[in-house]
Amino acid sequence: MELLLFKHNRPGRVCTFEEYRDGGGFSGLKKAIAMAPLEVQQVVMDSGLRGRGGAGFPTGKKWSFVPRDLPGPRWLICNCDEMEPGTYKDRALLEANPYSLIEGMTIACYALGVRHAFIFIRKGYETAAANLARGIEEAKKAGLLGERILGTDFSVDLDLHLSAGRYICGEETALINALEGKRPNPRVKPPFPAIKGLWNSPTVVNNVETLANVPEILANGAAWFKGLAKNPEGAGNKLFCVSGSVAKRVCVELPIGTTLREIIDVHCGGMRDGKKFKACIPGGASTQFLTADHLDVPMDFDTVAKVGSRLGSGGVIVFDESQCLVAATLNLITFFARESCGWCTPCREGLPFVKEILQRIEVGRGEERDLEIMREHIKYLNYSFCALAPGAMAPLDGLLRSFEDEVREHILKGKCPYKTEKQI
């Protein structure tokens, strides 16, 4: 199996500039600069690369929305907010190798005609930020970043913006507000960032992993990238970061289309303590639970969507038979209720409502009508201002779809069936 994201990784330490360069790094950038910007964009479009930040939007297409004829600057922002519970791939990537991202962003800037780009980094990723800061200096020194890259007229400034912790900053318009130093509430869309983003100019926001794919796509071509996936519709590799009840919790790079079964059994060494698989969240906290029935679904955007969940960020959280999914969902909802930005009513008030209900069900004070109220929330939180609240409803939706019996058992028995008398 061919690696591209983790290709340059060294065990236990970050790869050096020389190692990256000598291992074929920056060849993508050199190739790109010899092409016309729109050709570069076309290669990315042809490669089938889809956004790795969660929504899976085709990257080349997103770039193509940026108007080329407006006066004034354009911006590129790399989204390294990664606060989606269960997701740690961007950290894994940047702590091992900051250069793919730097090179990928430089290429993206070239394709988009961007002069000044930012990497928005969450609180807690100081190591990643330090790697990037060092990498940026090294690339500048080597003439691969900054003024007159590789002796051409093309110049790019790359700056880090270190945040102070808040999940909503990962939502692209909230991120733009955060970067501008405003309160990070999302913005009304349209206008979309591609038209009116950072400081009201056209802006592209891409995830770390998305941009880190770009150098190899340019170096090896669109067809090569497409061919990496296991399923015919898929393209490229994906980082899967696994946590929960598995024997080995790992972040691995695997072809798109790899099955959950393979991820768990082969790469994570099976379940922890020989427990039985009960369910998993396939792509970070805001995706629906999948069950044992879905273990052979190829992990790609459309195939996972077809079975009612989302590939999301690739943060796989595995639950075993001994775990109560009502309690797990309560934990997730508590997270989202706390992380709501407070802008719109359904999210700000609806999530605490759901939390209150789940709390009661979990301690045995649930009522039959609670199911109906939760279903109303699953449906109507879709009409929130941004995607946080609908995302928050995803695990609840999965719970009621696949584990309604478990919820009902709580209500009927008046206690959590997974808790011993002593725990209660």
Partner: protein, 644 residues
């Protein structure tokens, strides 16, 4: 112009109109909280949901942030949309106190109305309510954070519209808090609008809390008479007490808002110290008696010293009607001198503006908002025309250049909430050829050369007046060749001064033997007048005001003048002995202290008493065209009339 249907009603609206506004245009109110026509779209409350059944967009959408498009089929009554709306109410009521009876907003609360409209009635949430601490926000506004529904209107108004920086939103999620960094007086001169803009009872007018409910109020369209901008208001009175003043929309003048002075400065209208009784030689009497006495004394004096010894004085506090009626009086007392200004400086400023302005060069508020260059000339804008501040701010935010020309004589009472360049003289101002420029001049004396220079800039002009109705009075003064009061008095020939809402000097010159005053306030000098005639304020009378840009606006009486019931002296109800049984079975039609009359009517009646004709209609001749002016309309500019 997109054509769509809303609840089966065909609607056609201008491009860019929201579905919410399109529905409003055919009489359908879609419930909403965060939406306010004066503010940027927030789409935060999610109450304005409608369902699009067919057309370019489908499904549940927020009507406030959805532009009407051709072929849309909108339902406001679709069960799904109604369900979402009722859920939004349920969500908001999770934490909202259920105590409308002890909330000063009750009766005029958007949340009450839309809770009823939303159909949510039974509590399903079983947790506790969230509570907040309140802040002291100064003497104008009471803060009750528990009533907040997080619509973000207040902060959008305060920061984006008014440019304030000391009030905003803190925290996140369910903990968002709308207030200040620390307790204290709100700094913005427009802070009082928080009362109007907040859909619930978070901000209420401290100066009138718990005095009455909305349905108790008597109110009519009024025009603020604090400065010459002429903002539209609704003064709300209860039992003859002016409880609150709120803003009234007029897009030609003040938009939706008013300044804090116009809202909170009302004590002098309610004060029991206001002169209420007609008096002759210091003794209270009936109005007719006082009028008769005055008519007789004026006639006597005219016989002995001739009408040339009489001055008839008014001021820019008079309504247009009052000013016109004074010219009738002068006509009747042929030879008497007419005066409208205390001194020559004030007169020059006011008349100079009237002379200089015309339909083409007089800037409107819209012109100001759209200006590329704004010049504030020797002017403390917040002091002299606070409601022009948001218009200048709009221009500045749009990228317009603002200059403050200040030779250093005038200082700013408060910092201006927009970016500007301060320069020492007009020479440093660059208005490029063809640029949309507006120069705003204060009512401080304006040297003629500088006015000439300003006029030559090619920019439009806003010349503020020294009094609220300066433009009307200035126009009348110009036509009637009025003379400033100080000048007439210093001639030494004056024997009688008849002052109608006029500003009196501190002392009268020797030789003045007759002083008569008609006013709703009284200086010490006025109190000693031989004849005193109490008049009504603009809130208690009908009339016409003309603002600095020559815009005539009608105001209407909100309530019949008289002493407020609150604090009423017992003499007004304990005069019967034995005291009547409770409750009294015979109503008294008389309003305590309610003898005041509208100033123009007092003048008209005086003329009649002196043998002149009856003057039932003050707006005659060319001014007759203003008789039917709609008090709720936008007002009309009078240049055409004036120059007729």
């Amino acid at each position: 112009m997109p054509k769509l249907t809303i609840d089966n009603i065909p609607v056609e609206v201008p491009q860019g109109t929201s579905v919410l506004e399109a529905a409003r245009s055919v009489g359908i109110t879609i419930p909403h909280f965060c939406y306010h026509p004066a503010l940027a779209i927030a789409a935060a409350c999610r109450l304005c949901a409608v369902k699009l059944l067919d057309g370019p967009v489908k499904g549940i959408q927020m009507s406030c942030s959805l532009a009407a498009q051709d072929g849309m089929v909108v339902s406001t009554t679709d069960p799904e949309a109604m369900k979402l709306r009722s859920l939004v109410i349920e969500w908001l009521m999770i934490n909202h106190p259920h105590d409308c009876p002890v909330c000063d907003e009750g009766g005029e609360c958007l949340l009450q109305d839309f809770t009823i409209a939303g159909g949510h009635g039974r509590r399903r949430y079983q947790g506790n309510k969230r509570t907040h601490m309140n802040q002291y926000l100064g003497e104008g506004i009471y803060h009750e954070m528990n009533r907040c529904i997080q619509c973000y209107r207040c902060v959008r108004f305060y920061q984006e519209y008014a440019g304030g920086t000391d009030f905003g939103v803190m925290g996140s999620a369910g903990r968002v808090y709308f207030g200040r960094f620390e307790e204290g007086q709100l700094e913005s001169p427009l802070s009082g609008n928080l009362v109007d803009i907040c859909p619930t009872g978070v901000f209420t007018d401290k100066t009138g809390r718990f005095r009455a409910r909305y349905w108790d109020y008597q109110f009519s369209p009024a025009v603020c008479q604090h400065c010459s901008v002429g903002c539209n208001t609704s003064p709300q009175a209860f039992h003859r007490e002016l409880i609150k003043i709120v803003g009234r929309r007029n897009d030609n003048v003040n938009g939706w808002f008013i300044c804090d002075r116009g809202r909170f400065d009302k004590e002098y209208l309610n004060t029991p110290l206001r002169p209420r009784d007609p008096m002759v030689d210091g003794t209270p009497c009936e109005y007719e008696e006082a009028l008769a006495a005055l008519a007789a004394r004026v006639a006597d004096l005219a016989k002995v010293h001739g009408p040339e010894s009489i001055v008839i004085a008014g001021s820019p506090r008079l309504s247009l009607e009052g000013a016109l009626m004074l010219t009738e009086l002068a006509e009747h007392l042929k030879g008497a001198t007419l005066s409208f200004y205390a001194g020559p400086a004030e007169s020059e400023v006011s008349l100079g503006a009237v002379k200089l302005l015309n339909e083409q060069n007089a800037a409107t508020v819209r012109d100001l908002e759209g200006a590329d260059c704004v010049v504030l000339y020797e002017l403390d804008l917040i002091e002299e025309g606070a409601m022009l501040v948001p218009a200048v701010r709009k221009a500045a935010v749009r990228g317009g250049q603002v200059y403050l020309v200040s030779s250093g004589q005038r200082t700013l009472s408060k910092p201006l909430p927009f970016a500007y360049r301060q320069v020492a003289s007009l020479d440093e101002v660059i208005i490029e050829g063809g640029a949309k420029g507006v120069v705003i001049c204060g009512a401080a004396p304006r040297p003629a050369e500088e006015m000439a220079q300003i006029a030559s800039l090619g920019a439009k002009l806003m010349l503020l007046q020294p009094g609220p109705n300066g433009f009307a009075v200035g126009t009348v003064a110009l036509e009637s060749r009025a003379v400033p009061l100080s000048e007439v008095l210093s001639s030494g020939k004056v024997k009688a001064l008849l002052a109608f809402e006029a500003e009196l000097p501190d002392r009268l010159p020797e030789g003045v033997t007759l002083l008569a005053c008609a006013d709703w306030r009284a200086s010490d000098l006025a109190k000693g007048a031989a004849v005193f005639l109490p008049t009504t304020t603009w809130i208690e009378s009908d009339g016409t005001a003309v603002n600095f840009e020559g815009r005539a606006q009608h105001f209407q009486r909100s309530f019949k003048a008289g002493l407020p019931l609150k604090g009423l002296d017992p003499k007004y109800y304990q005069h019967q002995s034995p005291a009547p049984l409770h409750p009294p079975r015979v109503p008294h039609g008389e309003i305590p202290g309610g003898k005041e009359r509208d100033c123009w009517k007092v003048v008209a009646q005086l003329i009649e008493k002196m043998g002149g004709g009856s003057m039932a209609e003050p707006l005659t001749g060319k001014w007759g065209a203003l008789r039917d002016l709609d008090p709720e309309g936008g007002g009309i500019r009078v240049f055409g009339l004036r120059d007729r």
